[in-house]
């Protein structure tokens, strides 16, 4: 069983990221540098001696944000401008990012206006991943961001510090991947919410402290699979990029008789999938990491003709012995909406069942969703031992 005290600490940070940042700032007197998801390498900020924090969607309903972005934007972007308008992001001394989603760019533009005293640093990362110049441009982008960070901090970010931060972040990722492996083989009985708390807190906490807690959790893992009552269906959770799925949604899925054995959520495996190569120039390493991530866990926000997200998902599910996939799509997430038909068709061809759930920031009719998840779980149960002869997709409409 995982170390519950260490896990409790991670849960606490995960549930109040800005509270953690304020306390950290008060305790250390250091600077806090926020970043937007999903591709800014926080190692750079850490090496500069500041606390890197990935801005999170808030649980609060949108209020002042309605006057900044229209309601037909994803929950993350609306929540971010809402947090900025309410002063919740005031703890951040700077914000850095380089992503390209059009809604994210709109939010960043608005946040810069809303927070005139906060330095917002941007340099657009190339999102076309297999051009001959992709590596060079990615490196240049990170170098530009580094230079602006140095300008903001009025001190250089030394290569030696960057090497050390890369090593620390790699260790952190490796420990979380150990937990993922233990979940697949049954040694770690971590719920979806637990895993989210572990990853989300990693996006917020001082990395040294977070890694120390992870070491405790990993050390407490049993050497053999933990027996489990009944035989819950094994599902893979897919999707949800910038924002974390609501814990109550994850709990509901598990209440219906499913156990989550794998995911490619940003607040999950996507975040920790890939290490930065060590032993080479650190900027080369970060650029390589940026490219390797999309090969390892393809992301629909990038375009890369020689990798397929749908093929990755089917392969991951085989490795996890997952019986079905639940797609969590944040409403209005354009990259996900573009790619979903590819996934849908591939899963239909492979006769692997999946259920699409569209999530919203404000309200989700959980009981309505529960009925659909229960039906999906029942379908998966009935398929056990049955020959694959019929189309197995359970299509869902907007929640």
């Amino acid at each position: 069983m995982a170390d519950s005290n260490a896990l409790d600490q991670l849960r606490a940070v995960s549930s109040d990221p800005m509270g953690y940042a304020r306390a950290w700032k008060e305790r250390t007197g250091g600077l806090v540098v926020g970043s937007f998801p999903m591709n800014f390498p926080s190692e750079m900020v850490h090496a500069a001696g500041a606390l890197p924090l990935i801005v999170q969607e808030s649980d609060e309903p949108i209020t002042v944000g309605h006057g900044v972005l229209f309601p037909f934007y994803c929950g993350f972007t609306r929540s971010t401008v809402d947090q900025a308008g309410r002063g919740d992001l005031d703890v951040l001394d700077a914000i850095m990012f380089g992503d390209h989603c059009v809604q994210l760019l709109g939010a960043a533009d608005a946040v810069r206006v809303q927070l005139p005293n906060t330095r917002v640093i941007f340099f657009q990362l190339i999102s076309s991943m297999c051009d001959p110049w992709t590596f060079g441009r990615a490196r240049e982008s990170f170098q530009k961001l580094r230079s602006e960070l140095e300008d903001f901090l009025e001190r250089p970010v030394e290569d030696a510090a960057l090497h050390a931060s890369i090593a620390l972040f790699n260790r952190n990722r490796q420990l979380i991947r150990t937990l993922y492996a233990a979940r697949v083989d049954g040694r770690a009985r971590l719920t979806g919410s637990d895993m989210q708390a572990i990853v989300k807190s990693s996006m917020v906490m001082d990395k040294q402290d977070h890694t120390a807690l992870l070491e405790q959790i990993v050390a407490a893992l049993p050497s053999a699979p933990v027996p489990i009552e009944g035989k819950p269906v094994r599902v893979h959770l897919s999707g949800h990029f910038c924002q974390a799925p609501k814990p109550e949604l994850l709990a509901m899925i598990e209440d219906c008789g499913a156990t989550v054995v794998g995911d490619d959520l940003y607040h999950g495996y996507r975040y920790i999938s890939t290490d930065v190569p060590e032993g080479i120039d650190p900027m080369d390493g970060l650029a390589r990491w940026y490219m390797d991530r999309n090969t390892g866990v393809p992301c629909p926000t990038r375009v890369q003709n020689d990798v397929d997200w749908d093929a990755f998902l089917l392969s991951a599910m085989r490795d996890e012995a997952a019986e079905g996939m639940i797609v969590l799509m944040a409403k209005f997430c354009e990259p996900h909406m573009y790619y979903y038909p590819e996934v849908k068709e591939a899963f239909e061809r492979a006769e692997v069942p999946h259920l699409l759930i569209e999530t919203e920031h404000e309200t989700m009719a959980l009981e309505h969703l529960r009925t659909r998840v229960e039906s999906f779980v029942e379908i998966l149960r009935r398929r056990r031992g049955a020959p694959r002869t019929q189309k197995s997709t359970v299509e869902g409409e907007a929640a």
Partner: protein, 444 residues
């Protein structure tokens, strides 16, 4: 404010009627492309068509095809096909319609697809679009563009060669940053120009021929001249009453954006310029009793182009300028050197109306509002085009604070009329015009 009781037609420019013929001729050429053994390139966003036209490649601008279908109210079959494949309604309706054309195209060529007959409906022009031999993605600002092209490639089984030109957003944070100036502008211009040179190599690989640079130079001379004439005519609309409105300029987008870059487009804009000049001379307005002058912020609602022109005219409101029409489409002809056109072409792609962050963008819009002496701004909250809606609230707030003018918003869309709410527009426009009247009375 006058209630729009009796219909009275907007006094549209006569010279723009020629656009209809030019557009029809162009699409007929596209539909004949395969019969004539031409290579076909699909692209979205930036006007890379001169690069293709010079190489004798038939070009299909995705937005233009979707807009054409919507304007003819023939978007339904394509949008239905897209929806059947799983593309959701909240996706860009340009992309959704165009992807629907690709879905239809694939289905009509796949007899084993039992859900469809192998023969397209005669009236379904979405199925007439010839499939691509290559795809070039060169989209400023909006991430949708690149993803749309990638999904098109995947729809065709990744068998179509694709080339990506990355056009970065101008963030403008440096101390020297500004419109067409500063280190960021210079570096970004070079980055885009370099990729365009690589794109030419990609075109050479497709055609198997050396790139005809002389032909490109010739075409860009026409583009530059057409652009100058267009801007000259637009500038004359500072006159009262305005001789032309946004709706005339919307009709004139195709000639500057994607029609063949021959002397036809120079002739077209010469005629437009001459008619506008004549109207200024005689005091003839595009709205017979111009009482209000408005700025339109948002992309055009192509299903409703004529409808909106009539609606605003009946309110005696001349929509004299807009972000879509007045800040895009070879907007800076001075940057184009026909003898060495690549850099200037890239720079014009970079100044797509949304590709500057709000500090620059808002200044440009406020400048236009002052130049055309508008009384208010109408925002078309384009439901599936977040590239346009992103800064709207900030623009509205600045207009009210800096210029003290009225603003209003209505919801619609580029190619999906189900998002358009007529009563909402009526109520909000009337309220704004009443507020303008009230303000005028106070000032008197």
């Amino acid at each position: 404010m006058n209630a729009p009781s009796a219909p009275k037609a907007a006094n549209k420019l006569k010279s723009t009627r020629m656009a209809g013929k030019l557009v029809n001729d162009y699409w007929e050429m596209v539909w004949r492309a395969k019969e004539e053994g031409k290579l076909v390139c699909w692209y979205e966003g930036s006007s890379i068509n001169p690069f293709l036209e010079a190489a004798d490649i038939v070009w299909v601008h995705g937005e233009a095809y979707s807009a054409m279908l919507a304007a003819r109210h023939q978007e339904g079959p394509a949008q239905a096909a897209a929806e059947e494949r799983g593309y959701m309604r909240e996706l860009c309706s340009y992309a959704r319609t165009h992807l629907g054309c690709a879905v239809n195209n694939q289905r009509h060529r796949n007899e084993s697809d039992s859900a469809f007959s192998g023969v397209p409906d005669d009236e379904d022009i979405s199925a007439k679009l010839p499939p691509p031999d290559m795809i070039i993605s060169a989209y400023a600002y909006c991430s949708t563009g690149q993803q749309w092209d990638e999904m098109t490639s995947r729809l065709f089984g990744k068998k179509i060669p694709i080339f990506n030109v990355s056009i970065p957003w101008i963030w403008a944070s440096g101390k020297d940053a500004g419109y067409l100036r500063g280190q960021e502008w210079q570096e970004t211009s070079k980055y885009v120009a370099k990729q365009l040179e690589e794109m030419v190599k990609f075109i050479e690989e497709r055609t198997g021929k050396p790139y005809p640079w002389d032909r490109l130079r010739e075409l860009m001379r026409n583009v530059k001249r057409a652009s100058e004439l267009r801007l000259e005519a637009m500038d004359m609309c500072t006159a009262r009453p305005a001789p032309a409105t946004l709706f005339d300029w919307s009709v004139s987008i195709a000639p500057i954006n994607q029609l063949p870059c021959t002397t036809d487009i120079v002739d077209y804009f010469t005629n437009v310029r001459d008619e506008v000049a004549e109207r200024v001379r005689t005091g003839e307005g595009a709205v017979p009793k111009e009482k209000y002058r408005l700025f339109f912020d948002g992309i055009m609602n192509w299903n409703k182009l004529g409808w909106l022109a009539e609606k605003f005219a009946r309110y005696d409101a001349a929509v004299v300028a807009g972000r879509y029409t007045h800040m895009a489409f070879w907007q800076e002809p001075d940057l184009i050197d026909p003898n060495d056109p690549v850099m200037g072409m890239g720079q014009n792609y970079l100044i797509c109306p949304n590709n500057h962050s709000s500090p620059i963008l808002i200044d440009l819009i406020m400048g236009l509002c002052e130049k055309y002496e508008v009384d208010g701004i109408v925002f078309h909250a384009t439901r599936t085009c977040r590239a346009f809606t992103n800064p709207m609230h900030m623009i509205a707030e600045t207009a009210q604070k800096r210029l003290g003018i009225q603003t209003t918003m209505f919801e619609g869309d580029v190619a999906d009329e189900s998002f358009y709410k007529d009563e909402l527009l009526n109520t909000r426009v009337e309220a704004m015009l009443e507020a303008i009247d009230a303000r005028r009375m106070v000032m008197v």
